[in-house]
């Protein structure tokens, strides 16, 4: 059986990489090409690359940067950010990217999910959802990098996008992003139980043990991490890392 996928999630801002904490305070962490070269050599399973400005600033995907990155990546890559139509998806997949991640489009043009799934297959369409925990523990879906509330219930939203044809859900707990305090297991459980498609847990990973919790207790099909793979220690020194294959194998036993 294949091991659970462990996916570094990188945030693109302009031409540089950043890492946020609870979706705020982006810290510059360097050139994406160098980071990807290092992740290549570390033989990571897969990579998620999200352009954090593309939708917010109303720009489309930056194809030039995507191409540079696609050419450098040996591992499968999912790209998200600023995608609003089929033509863009076609172009991105042609550049050598394996999957696209839709987020803003899921609110503005949900029909894009079904159209894209019909044309390219569900396996290449990921829908990402960013969730905040409200007062009294109720969850709510947010959009625009956590700045706009939608009033939507995450379970209902996840069901909707899965019915529309999304192949995977990239589920991020905004409150855990960059904290390295562990995943929001309750949230993962709710979503993974509700939908028939794979859920990638994101937000909060700080140690290998967290991966096991997300999959074994939460029911996630794959795990993503940002800060854990780019920061070291109390000063958060930038240091790209990825667990050794043996350590991962042990973790999921």
């Amino acid at each position: 059986m294949l091991r659970i996928r462990v996916i570094p999630c990188l945030l693109l801002k302009g031409r540089g990489l950043v890492k946020t904490t609870r979706f705020k305070d982006p810290q510059y962490i360097g050139d994406p090409i160098n980071a990807i070269k290092i992740f290549n050599d570390k033989e990571v399973d897969e990579l998620v690359l999200l352009d954090v400005l593309a939708s917010v600033e109303g720009k489309g995907p930056n194809f030039e940067v995507i191409e540079e990155i696609a050419n450098e990546c040996f591992m499968p890559v999912a790209y998200g950010g600023g995608i609003t139509n089929l033509e863009q998806i076609r172009k991105i997949l042609k550049l050598g990217i394996e999957k696209v991640v839709l987020n803003e489009a899921a609110f503005q043009h949900p029909e894009l999910i079904s159209a894209a799934a019909a044309e390219f297959g569900s396996q290449s369409i990921v829908v990402s959802m960013d969730v905040k925990r409200k007062l009294f523990g109720k969850y709510e879906v947010y959009r625009a990098r956590g700045t706009k509330s939608t009033g939507l219930d995450p379970v209902a939203f996840a069901l909707t996008v899965s019915k529309l044809g999304a192949g995977e859900i990239f589920l991020t707990a905004i409150d855990r992003d960059g904290t390295m305090e562990g995943y929001d297991l309750e949230l993962i459980k709710q979503i993974a139980r509700a939908v028939p498609i794979p859920v990638i847990a994101s937000g909060g990973a700080g140690k290998i043990g967290d991966f096991r919790e997300a999959t074994h207790c939460g029911g996630a099909s794959a795990v993503a991490a940002g800060a854990m793979f780019v920061f070291h220690g109390k000063h958060r020194g930038v240091l790209i890392t990825y667990p050794e294959a043996d350590a991962l194998k042990q973790a999921f036993l």
Partner: protein
Amino acid sequence: MHYQICVRCVMDTTDAEISFDESGVCSHCKSHEARVAQAPFSQSDAGEKLAALVARIKARAKGEYDCIIGLSGGVDSSYVAYQAIQLGLKPLAVHFDNGWNSELAVKNIERMVKKLNLDLITYVIDWEEFRDIQRSFFKANVIDIEMVTDHAIFAALFKLAKQHKIRYILSGTNVATESIMPKAWQHFKFDLLNLMAIQKKFGQLKVRSYPTISIWHMAWNKYMSGFQSVPILNYLPYKKEEAIATLKAELGWEYYGGKHYESLFTKYYQAHILPKKFGVDKRKVHLSDLIMNGEVTRELALKELEKPPYTESALASDREYICKKLGFSQVEHDAYLNASAVSHFDYPSYAKIAMALVKIYRKVQYN
């Protein structure tokens, strides 16, 4: 000029300024000897000198850390970190990320910080700006492209030293394995005037966040505010092979094959750009230093020099990566490699005055 090679080391007339005595021994290995003889570790009271230095560093500590160590993932800096811990110092490790890290360098840093329990700060330089300055040095056709990195590392370390109120920077510079360097093969790294002039002439971006430091500022740091860089390896008997063996055994550290090859750019620069464009094979200085340090025989060094610095397949893929990252086409890069070199002194420079001052400084540095 006829070709001549030193009978003791492997320096030769590819350095135009080399001179030989009547028995055929060159000026470089003699200066290696002289510098080693002057270094603290060669003195009879070497132990006391080191103890006094460590005591001074500890005594002047103000906060959590008593010194800063720049970690590149290479042998020298890794060994400095290892020794600092052995000596009971409390270093803050700083890694300077210029966008050219190899996986092995990063992995070595990870092993070091984890095994030695070091706190780490990474100074991540703005890649777009850094790249623009590197591109300018290509366009200027000057030899010392590494000045762009070396200058910024020093400047960044001083900046962080000030921020964290740490007076001592422990550097990996050492006379045992780094004494020999023909003047024409590199430029004075603190020639800020030169760097800015080249960037002004060829650059497209303004220098905003790239860290800089002038020699006047460095002198001020040392003599007025008490911030200084200490070449701690000069206080210890330093052998490269032994350092590598220790790091491997104690920290699981891995060698990357070749001096400074921990950086992808430096590897390409030293093993391809320097020999191809400037007729300089830097392996000669590294090997000559090692011969003088009693680590390599001259015969072995000569054999090493017969090998090409690059395997063909590695060269092709590294070349492609370097061009892509710097934004040069293969054609542009070929034109660059074929264009004649231009001296740093063809651009504004204060290196000559500064070098004269450094010469005086070297005579008094251990007093």
